[in-house]
Symmetry: C2
Amino acid sequence: MLAAWIGNGRVELRGLPRPRPRKGEALIRVHCAGICNTDLELLAGYYGFRGVPGHEFVGTVVEGSPQWLGRRVAGEISLGCGRCPQCAAGMRRHCPRRRVLGILNHPGALAEFLVLPEENLHGIPRSVPDEEAVFCEPLAAACEILQQVRIPRAAPVAVLGDGKLGLLCAQVLAAAGAHVALFGRHPERSRWLARRGIRLQDGARRPSRAFPFVVEATGSAAGLEEALQFVAPRGTVVLKSTTHEPVRADLSRLVVVPEVTLVGSRCGPFPEALRLLRQRRVETAPLVQSRLTLAEVVEAFRQAAAPGALKVLVACPAPSSSTAR
Amino acid sequence: MLAAWIGNGRVELRGLPRPRPRKGEALIRVHCAGICNTDLELLAGYYGFRGVPGHEFVGTVVEGSPQWLGRRVAGEISLGCGRCPQCAAGMRRHCPRRRVLGILNHPGALAEFLVLPEENLHGIPRSVPDEEAVFCEPLAAACEILQQVRIPRAAPVAVLGDGKLGLLCAQVLAAAGAHVALFGRHPERSRWLARRGIRLQDGARRPSRAFPFVVEATGSAAGLEEALQFVAPRGTVVLKSTTHEPVRADLSRLVVVPEVTLVGSRCGPFPEALRLLRQRRVETAPLVQSRLTLAEVVEAFRQAAAPGALKVLVACPAPSSSTAR
């Protein structure tokens, strides 16, 4: 099959053996995959990654149990060991020996086919097209905020960063009734955001310690210290960015003295993301930067890495017989 | 009156005018004051401090309303503006224009007399002697942890740092029913800690990501990254240390990915601290390093700054008429 392959700081298109599902696993033909900032960081050397990247996808089960065969699915990205206390407690995302689709020891979704345990799969409602369903994984990550932090209706929330993740977080919070101010650099995004009840504000103007809740989605190591300038005493900052640089911040003055709470937040609930898509509470079309095919994946990474780029989608046409093995 | 005075990186004994209470304030004759790590950081240049340090004290009200006159008291250290939203919400500790006893724009307790608003005062029960009551402020800071984080009975809690604050935090948590492991460098403290149900463990041996709750009380900028090695996925780290160095840590790997919560924690509830002292649920005697008088305050700071030093108490004998003005 065709697949994107990352190694030695480069991404390339390769012909690779089709992965084989084991017991309890499904083989999925990928329809469409998204490129995430994490993929760009893998390319930059994060985790010393070598392999097939990609963890945002929608596809069809082509081998698996009768319950799943032929169904259109998205999938949770963590594969637990199944034996540790975290797995026993239903927290396979936190299994210390986990593999992660396209990130850690498990080939990813920027390929014609992928394999995942069936327990990771979620069926996609017919009303949600592929180009929306492919946002299920990052949208679930945005929904995770509301699983971790109780945000009262009409509470003022600042979201920092009007990139892909910030735009999803702002929409999820607005859909939950929060009064969201999104601080960013792209005023051209204000019109459609206003339609979702989100005020886009100039990220260069910093209101001092005004918000009880702040979501840091800047994608930059400097984002935490910025977020701490926004949050009110005893407020909460949700950290969504992963960066390979360490963070440096005056936590005594900015966290201990004002008694701020920081909440690290990563993957989230797919059913909640699918509900928001089905109910059309979240728009994904304005987040699509461009659409390419798997054969163009090198160009797709180039476009995704451009400053201010939004989501680059990679369509995977039905596999050609010459590359499938 | 006699008072300690910090400025230009030095501490000295000075003769200063006795402070004058305004409406709503009390004049307090200090019996005994404690030297805290914050005082050592003020001496080192934190906050660009110049003035009378000291914020841990017990004393007697010698001028004030009939309700307080003659009573033995401890006092909360933050003086709010009384007009901002934080003050209106009863959070004067977080008033942006607050003054803080012996720390920020208000002369401190390492003096024969101090002034505080009567609303800051708490009467000391007769059964609690001065040498225990002087621990009220740091003990309240330890109690703050339980106001911020719900820790179930018998939950495993790691406290990092067997210095003054760590020893108080460990005792407060053990008194609340937690299973406390205190990680430190002073095995000679293990016997009395065992009496309080606290296991003292070698701080050089790090159990990996095992504790659902971790309290960071090392007093070092490196403490946060250490604490993050102890905490289990989705666990909580309470940050108690204030340091003037910024913290540097890989928060992506250690907070975002394992979805850890960090809680900044500072001052706390005096009534709870007084209850623990009255009910003898906490021992303070093993925390006393030495006892000096105000006339010996330069030596007192020297002893407090020694590596591994515990609490240095400074007794303030009744004032001499020659220095009172």
